[in-house]
């Protein structure tokens, strides 16, 4: 357990785990937070959400082009797959895996459909992450 995180925040994370939004990789990340890195989880979640949003924007642009460079699209998806796997964002990772299959097939329709799915699952998890961080911050303010 991350000793520096509030119990209510950990409870919020636990509910994300139980619904399959996150997997055990996120629990491993929590263990890295301690007194010497008290803001580690906040920083990781913030970076993941910012990078993910940027990537989805890029994917939208790439797939809007008349001539789609599927290798370039795959590069962006691969990065998001990696970071989502690392933070334990299971559904985002799975959507990326599906996306990469359509990139291999060079299917614009498949990619566009999967991008819609990716957008939904990403904003679901990032929204819940942001709510978790707000809760953590409110708890921190309340105990000052």
């Amino acid at each position: 357990m991350a000793a520096t995180m509030k119990l209510s925040t950990l409870g919020y994370a636990a509910s994300m785990l139980s619904t399959g939004l996150l997997d055990e990789q996120f629990q491993k990340l929590l263990l890295l937070q301690d007194g010497s890195d008290p803001n580690f989880v906040v920083e990781i979640i913030t970076l993941f959400c910012e990078d993910g949003e940027r990537t989805i924007g890029e994917l939208t642009k790439q797939l809007d082009k008349r001539c789609v460079n599927f290798d370039e699209v795959a590069d962006f998806v691969h990065k998001l797959e990696g970071s989502s796997a690392t933070v334990g964002a299971q559904r985002v990772k799975n959507a990326c895996i599906q996306f990469l299959e359509f990139c291999k097939e060079k299917s614009r329709d498949g990619c566009l459909k999967t991008l819609d799915t990716l957008r939904v699952v990403f904003y679901d998890v990032s929204g819940k992450f942001k709510a978790m961080l707000q809760l953590e911050q409110q708890q921190a303010e309340a105990t000052k």
Binding site: I44, L47, D51, G82, S83, A85, T86, V87
Partner: protein, 134 residues
């Protein structure tokens, strides 16, 4: 995490990684071992550090990066005569192991990384440094 110290100097670690999330996780783990950490966002930056005369005890290198890939970076670093530095190739691509090892990496770590394998690697480098000082 257990830590053990080099008598005199910390382990010099280079992280070659273009994804901020991965770079932060690695640097956080290495900080727990009191490593002196340098970051490079791509292989070209990493090679430049060596050309400037910088020395490292361990390198953690991603595979897919802009400008220069991980395996290419490792080949160039080894070609500079850096045979003693421990190089760890890291990738979500499970097929990357062969490419890394052929290029001269000592170890391959798949992503998502198991955090508890980093500690023994650092300890090994520390032991090597301590033994070389005896």
């Amino acid at each position: 995490m257990m830590t053990s110290f080099v008598q005199g100097s910390p382990v010099k670690a280079l992280i070659v990684e273009d994804t901020a999330v991965h770079a932060l996780i690695l640097s956080t783990i290495l900080r727990k071992f009191h490593c002196e950490i340098t970051m490079a966002e791509n292989g070209n930056e990493a090679v430049q550090l060596f050309l400037e005369g910088k020395k490292f005890d361990i390198i953690f290198c991603d595979k897919d990066m802009p400008v220069m890939s991980g395996p290419e970076t490792i080949e160039k670093i080894r070609a500079l005569g850096e045979s003693h530095v421990k190089i760890v190739g890291i990738s979500a691509d499970y097929d990357a192991q062969e490419a890394f090892v052929s290029a001269g990496a000592d170890v391959f770590l798949p992503k998502p990384m198991k955090f508890d394998v980093v500690g023994p690697m650092i300890q090994e480098v520390i032991n090597k440094k301590n033994n070389s000082m005896v």
